[in-house]
Symmetry: C2
């Protein structure tokens, strides 16, 4: 693994577990054995490293989620598969996402205001909602695919928060039941 990738991996793991402001550059260096000069050779600042970490996590997460959804079929089936995927995530059955500690983007977003982090997190959430919506075009005569996708997103966000903060690891199952009801209305 190249040095930049090594740094991004270690930084993500530490940021995800302890928070971004709580983890200093020196700790990332100590954990990886990389020299400080090398870090600042590849990244202009801690913020630049953080940006790379956010893009890395975005790619890992989106690749995992979309492949899980597409493997289940199209339309409604794909959307419901989203909640099965979340359930696996909450129960630490998805190695590539690392042990579940909530949504990294939600946590990162909360540590900043009027910052690049906020727009990156918003974009990440928007991309997911857009992918959900793509699976819901023409599903309902009464509700637009955009409105349905927003509602599904509320269920998804709620499941993640509830699983993390309240420790309700079965939140995805509950969210799925409500999604079934929502997508059964005609």
């Amino acid at each position: 693994m190249t040095k930049p990738d090594l740094l991004i991996h270690a930084a993500f793991k530490l940021f995800y577990e302890h928070g971004i402001h709580a983890v200093g550059i020196n700790r990332i260096l100590q954990e990886t054995g990389v020299a400080k000069k090398t870090l600042y050779h590849h990244f202009a600042s801690k913020d630049a490293l953080l940006e790379a970490v956010l893009m890395y996590r975005d790619q890992i997460f989106m690749d995992w989620l979309t492949s899980r959804m597409m493997a289940a079929g199209e339309g409604k089936m794909a959307v419901l598969a989203l909640f099965d995927a979340l359930d696996d995530w909450f129960h630490d059955r998805v190695e590539v996402l690392l042990p579940f500690k909530g949504c990294f983007f939600m946590k990162a977003n909360g540590e900043f205001s009027d910052h690049m982090v906020n727009s990156l997190c918003q974009r990440h959430k928007h991309n997911i909602t857009a992918f959900i919506q793509a699976n819901l075009v023409g599903h309902s005569a009464h509700l637009s695919s955009a409105e349905l996708a927003q509602s599904i997103s509320v269920l998804k966000e709620g499941a993640i928060s509830q699983a993390y903060v309240a420790g309700d690891l079965d939140a995805a199952k509950r969210a799925k039941a409500m999604a079934v009801a929502l997508l059964s209305e005609k």
Copy 2:
């Protein structure tokens, strides 16, 4: 206003907007004009101040939410009123909660691990779920009040997250529609 209350108010406002680790003790002092000696006379440490801030916000929020719910009646009506209250919060129509910037407990929780903050946040969420549950005893023959309350909590958490991170200020309306569907099943 007493000095401790002044500090708690200012600390909450700054923590809520910028994050806890991002706000130093000196900034809180500068904002309030209080001397450092005075702060450490009333609070043993930044952690102690933070604990007071969390308890303060918990009380403000719970008082507001329960009064809004109880004013709407009992049972299902109270639960649905929760989402009307959230809608007001998201649109900054609730002065006592300050301009909406997400759930303080969700954000605080994300900045720590294995810390007093985590248990306080979990307790806060649990108290809300318990209050919801109290309004749902005997509501359904198929689902327990505990299960219903957990599902309502998923909707509530999802609405807050979606409104904050994605900027979807109408998330509470969507969540309410799903709550109506959930509580109409017999």
